[in-house]
Symmetry: C2
Subunit: 425 residues, 2 copies
């Protein structure tokens, strides 16, 4: 940990402020994770990653930079990591999941901005996130009003390159997105000095697909009635996927899945038979935002799926690996990413179809539709989501929350009532 | 007025609810407008239009429909009226400026949505706006998260066609916007059954440019130190421009300008020499939202310019009238509309340049940067606007408000203090 302090100091971080975060995180992790019973043994890896989340991976990124490599920070599941890794660079997620960072963001952003954006900007400006200090360039996108304008503020402090995501999903919009990916490739090539060849891009497509395949395998285990892993554990794995080395992440997650599949064969479940199975839909839950999973899973139910950016929207659908030219590969990448059904698109009917499909695949008893406060997109779309579920007879609970703990008791009351209702059906 | 009631009833309006609006509007108009001293005589026209705003123009639109013409409802200064009028159709603004309509919108939209969007949706769903009842089709756009998703709700009730506005202003984005305008033309042609020829489009370009020229002439009068018209009167003219027949509006506004220019020659000002000149920047003020102008102008200052959609963003820059093919005309239209500097673009440096230019042209003493509550775009951009003004030594007051009267007293206190500060400089 002494090494970490030197690293953080060298990164120009605000050590005093950062210490406050380091003091509370282990306790929070212990309370939420280590108190769970019958956890898979292979969770040890993720425990270790979270325990030293501002140490191990940042050190690796800095090592990469010392060898002349570049690091790109990204915020959104639409930014294609493939193009970045193909230029011998590393893409990493950035901090944004704790109330700790929110006040820093509120210094420059409207209070009526979603906590994810406020936390991200605060983490950067307050110098309390090593990933934000390390990244040589950030890749933003135009997925929502709040982020679109936040890039302008961040770009005064650090290089930000913004991709213009189309707002619809017509054929020409997929083409426009392919053009944006090509422009990103040009930018990444120029910034790294490395050429993105068809061979390198093929390898990067395979690398990221392997990560998706591992997550898909993990989520498949969660479809089983013998549930071998808690939602809380699955969530933190999804969260770590944004930061970790993709090859190692896939390897460790496949190792975990070996254990989980054995548990399914052995009939080892983390919950008693008949425990109500909950799917969360809506806005992302960035690390260390474990609030809802913790409440659900200490209220007698279990989370089996997240239709979220930290969930199925991150790993579903693979990039076609058979293309042989950079142009065709980029087309394939554009097509895969445009299959993600985010509320930033209008209309976004595909998302309702996704939720119905997932509810069936994961044998869901009830849905909690989660909105991070001031996310107008998911909040408005919730009108359609909740109506569609009700019409289909799927119990649904709409919840709005932020990163504070002030609503935890109220959420617990509402979620408990929801679970009780499911149990009495 | 008996005719109006029959018309409203035929339109399927909720007469009982609408009566409540009709009861308060004349009083509000009288309090704000008719109490002003030394108004130009030619304001009589606009007084009449407002007094019967749900009667005269709706009757004309229905007359147009009886002759087989179509009416398109629009929400935003980016939607090119030229294309609609070129198909022998009429474009009209829609209701959205009163708290009266907000609760109806809140039935289906998040409370954390800006009042303009909530009021628009409420006016439609509660059936209390004749323009919303008359329009055969609405043309939406992807300018902000709130509107983008609100179209999805409206489209369940009425045909909505959405244009995808690019989020940046690179050369390829202007081309993308030209493509969207071509797609709108195709849609309008199909819906009306009328072909948009180069001849008709040229006439429509001239028609809308003439309206812009009239507004430009009006605003030029406001640059004079001999101020011949109040900001409150100029605002209502800007608001009416969205609804009125464009040719008649230009004619009546030019007639008013004859009088205003004579006033300038005669040294007739509506305010005493030395009255502090205020520019409002920010979000639009839809009719009947006169709150801020009224407060400023009863606090000893005067509004000389609105850098708003209901202001300079509506009329500045003309469409090139020399193009001879539909393709070239659409290109010219795209170029003109992409010169509008809305906070929905990232980045949007041009807007800061506009504000500096306008502050100089209109001899502005102070700026009030106005944000409609929950408009994240203008709120975030306000960070840059207010900083730039402060750095340039231009006094600026940032204000957030909605359509309720609950903050009127607080706003009056803050604005009075701002004017007092300007007076003491």
């Amino acid at each position: 940990m002494a090494d970490n302090r030197k690293m953080w100091s060298d990164l120009g971080m605000n050590l005093e402020l950062h210490d406050q975060l380091c003091e509370v995180l282990p306790q929070a992790f212990g309370d939420v994770f280590l108190s769970q019973e019958n956890r898979p043994e292979a969770m040890d890896y993720y425990n270790m990653v979270v325990a030293d989340i501002h140490g191990i991976r940042p050190a690796e990124l800095i090592e990469h930079q010392k060898k002349g490599g570049k690091v790109f920070g990204t915020f959104c599941v639409y930014v294609p990591d493939e193009v970045i890794f193909a230029a011998d660079a590393i893409a990493t997620g950035l901090c944004g999941g704790s109330q700790f960072w929110v006040p820093g963001g509120e210094k420059v952003l409207p209070v009526n901005t979603c906590p994810l954006i406020k936390a991200s900007v605060g983490a950067r400006l307050d110098r309390t996130c090593p990933f934000f200090r390390i990244a040589d360039m950030y890749i933003g996108e135009t997925t929502c009003d709040g982020k679109k304008k936040a890039w302008e503020i961040l770009s005064e402090d650090v290089p930000v390159y913004v991709m213009d995501l189309p707002q619809m999903k017509r054929a020409k919009d997929v083409q426009a997105w392919a053009e944006e990916i090509t422009a990103l490739k040009d930018q990444v090539e120029e910034f790294t000095g490395n050429k993105v060849t068809a061979e390198k891009l093929a390898a990067a497509i395979k690398l990221i697909n392997d990560k998706r395949r591992a997550l898909d395998r993990l989520y498949n285990c969660r479809k089983s009635e013998v549930l071998p892993i808690s939602g809380t554990d699955a969530l933190v794995i999804s969260q770590i996927a944004f930061y970790d080395d993709p090859a190692r992440f896939a390897q460790m997650t496949n190792k975990l899945c070996d254990e989980l599949e054995q548990r399914i064969r052995d009939g080892v479940s983390v919950v008693p038979a008949g425990t109500k199975r909950i799917m969360l839909t809506g806005t992302p839950l960035a690390i260390p935002n474990w609030k809802l999973h913790n409440i659900v899973e200490t209220s007698g139910a279990v989370v089996v799926c997240e239709e979220m950016c930290t969930g199925t929207r991150y790993f579903e659908n693979l990039v076609d690996e058979t293309k042989e030219t950079v142009e065709d590969q980029i087309q394939a990448i554009a097509e895969r990413y445009m299959k993600i059904n985010c509320a930033c698109f209008t209309p976004n009917h595909g998302r309702i179809d996704d939720i119905f499909r997932l509810a069936k695949e994961y044998k869901v008893d009830g849905i909690i539709d989660v909105n991070l406060k001031f996310c107008n997109l998911y909040d408005t779309e919730g009108y359609f989501v909740e109506r569609a579920m009700k019409e289909a007879g799927i119990p649904v609970l709409g919840i709005e929350t932020d990163y504070t703990d002030s609503d935890a008791q109220q959420l617990r009351t509402r979620i408990s009532a929801f679970v009780e209702m499911l149990n009495s059906k």
